[in-house]
Amino acid sequence: MSGLLHLIPERASTLADMFEALFWYITITVSLAGLLVYGALFWFCVKYRRGKSSPSTPRILGSERLEITWTIIPLLIFLTFFGVGVWVFNYYAHPPEDAMEIFIIGKQWMWKAQYPDGQRVIIGGNPANMTEAERNSIGRLVVPIHRPVRLTMTSEDVIHDFGLPAFRAKMDVLPGRYTTMWFEANKLGEYHIFCDQYCGTWHSLMVGKVAVVEQGEFMDWLAGHKPLQGSDNAVDGSLAWEGRQLFLKLQCIKCHSDAANSGAPSLSGIYGTRVALDGGGAEIVDSAYIHESILKPRAKIVRNYKPVMPSYEGQVTPEDLNKLVAYIRSLKDGRPPTWTERFPIPEGAPTERPEPKSPEKK
């Protein structure tokens, strides 16, 4: 049994500092209000107890002025809580443009982190529930200090919640969609990761550690020089590299090749741009949109293209999707994907795409 907790829990992010300001503003305000009520209650109970006060009581029915006062004043105070809360929540909900992205995948009962240009690390979970290889790969979520980090998260099974109490941030992790949260760590050290949404038997063991390290160390680690993640596993290939293998293996390149008449939009340099959609509207190409376009390609069609792409639902896992997103993200403008020796053009495949048949033409 260890000693008492600190008055203020450890703070390790910019959000935590804002949270504490808000938390203590509310705490002090409501404590004063509570003490006011308790003081009155206690004073009346003592002063007007039977025997000390006149047994004859006055007939007091109420006071409109008091009712209005104690309706308006609490409401105004509560609205300041709301307002300052929005200030903090707005900061939490909107990651900066230049945030470094890390993918988080939750499953019963394991957290996995994928860095866009390097490693994959198991950052927590119940060892009793893992394979031998996975057990050896349990490490920490390594993040650099003073640099915004955006977590893009999804779940393979049920709802989880990625909670970082030292950063005062948490976000549910849902199957079938991406959620994001971000933080900027400002204190070196190692902190808890908790699963905060009940997810079954080992929910309470779906915990891990996040390590905040110096930026230089972090770069060294990303390059594979330092095993800062704390596990024995070797540095894995970059996500984008693996995404490329998939891109070829799944024959995505047959259409998305930048060739004339390929029938599919070019992907080079498309990430982060705005594309016009068929039937009006536009969409920013981000991980959520790419995710949707692979699983449900007909949901949002880029203008001037036909809805011919088949769905890859069931063929790709969430991990695969992350790889493909990372790959598409890595494609620079004017540098289209190319075949490799390992994945040549299939024998007998048409080199030119036929015109899609349109029902109007008879």
């Binding site: 049994m1 008492l4 938390f23 109970c45 007939r59 008091l66 509560f78 929005v86 948490k170 908790f194």
Partner: protein, 587 residues
Amino acid sequence: MSTLTERAPLASPPPPEPIPAEPNYLNNSFSIWSWLLTVDHKRIGILYLVSITVFFVVGGIAAGLVRLSLVVNDSSIVTEDTYNRLFTAHGVVMLFFFLIPAVPAVFGNFLIPMMIGAKDLAFPKLNLASWYVFMIGAIMAVWAVLAGGIDTGWTLYPPYSSRSSTSNVIPGVMGAFISGFSSIMTGLNIMVTIHKMRAPGMTWGRLPLFVWAMYATSLIQLLATPVVAITLFLLMVERAWGVGIFDPALGGDPLLFQHLFWFYSHPAVYIMIVPGMGVISEVLPCFARKNIFGYRAIAWSSMGIAVVGFLLWAHHMFVAGISFYSALLFSLLSMLVAVPSAIKVFNWTATLYRGSITFQAPMLFSLGFVVLFTIGGLTGLFLATTGTDIHLHDTYFVVAHFHFVMVGGMVLGYFAALHFWWPKMTGRLYSDWWSRIAATIIIVGFFFTFIPQFVMGYHGHPRRYPNYPAEFQIYHVMSTAGASILGIGYLIPAIYLTLSLFNGQKAGANPWAATGLEWSTPSPPSVHNFDTTPVVVCGPYEYAIGVDQMGRGLPEGPGEGGPLGIASHEGHPSPPGPMIKETEVVG
């Protein structure tokens, strides 16, 4: 600013003590069928009282085992699977089968007709049916949590509950589904009764505030419960037949469940707490011998809570993946619902001003309610504020907040009601000394149990964790120690209330010298409550003048110390009967 709102009614001398009813509703027949087929609202209230006491014990034992296992920070006392089943059992049983029916089905049933001067509820057979439906649902759910158990938590979030859990989800959900219809029947019955069966002169402005609170509660029961019925039904369909509704792997949307679930379950916490507020509004004026301060404000704040309570459900979902702007909207609306609760607390406090206060058990429980509910309400503001909820959500802070409102508030309100109306229901007085001791122990034990949980939650300790980091252990030990005190506090009333049935002093018709119509009947009341239809001439809390709602003088108020009862005012001079008094204006 304020004005005379009504003239003080003319008073007549105290009525003679009514002759004890022979037979009364308890002893007119002793056969088992006279209970099982009764359509008397009072007997049905007693049936509910016995049933929910059993469920309270079941839920309490589960809570005790949860607290016991948390003394250590690993799963060495109970396994994780057992722990998950225990906290689910605690939540499901306490919420669906104790808190929701506690005051509405027991005291609502028993008191609403008597308070408005009616002989029974509007639909007596529907009332009996509601008890049977409740018992079918409750037995099914309790069987599910005892035989094998459910491990989803009472919130039942899919896809865990629909796909992943291997426990008895369907029987448990079916039990909650069925008992929901009982809640609808009770709500409907009470609402119709209040509309149609008020005695002559019982205008809306003269209804006791408990009746107003029950009216607001019935509104929520009627409108919200069907939504949870649909939700639970869809959940069973998905789990049983794999129809994709909530599970994304089947094309469903897990957030849809959360929206539907909280659309009921947020108003449902008002089903639980608003009746308790009604009880407090009855007890405080009686023991302060004062008119309630701000009758209209309290009545309308109940209705305000009922209506605004429907607009807040997604404040449980700020970090669940809803949009930024919907989080802002629901945070803003949540601030609005805090206001009517604050109004009630201020008015209750003001009611004590210049009173003549005694501290029997109902009053102690009520004061405990005000103190603990205030903490529960104020800590709710942390969770309604988006910026603080992103850290506190799903931690022990939520657990502590919820228990402060539901146990510190509602259970104390329930105990206040039980102690206040026990003499009316049973015709017996319980031990005054022991009841005060029990009230004190319960309040102290409660503080020790749940204050440490606020600290743990602030430090990020997630809820539903049988394994936890070592730094939290001392707080869990403190909490469990407090829970032990609380458990003892709950046992004491079980003993002295039971004993009072056998050797308690006979209660007069009006042992607290209270003003409501229910006190004009003998204790226990006759089968049809009133021999002649009462005629109401004034508002419900004319303690200052000393008249009841029929304009008759009151017996003297409950004394300080000494045995509790109508003769206990010796040595405590109280105004002899009704007096002419001017309305005073404050503020």
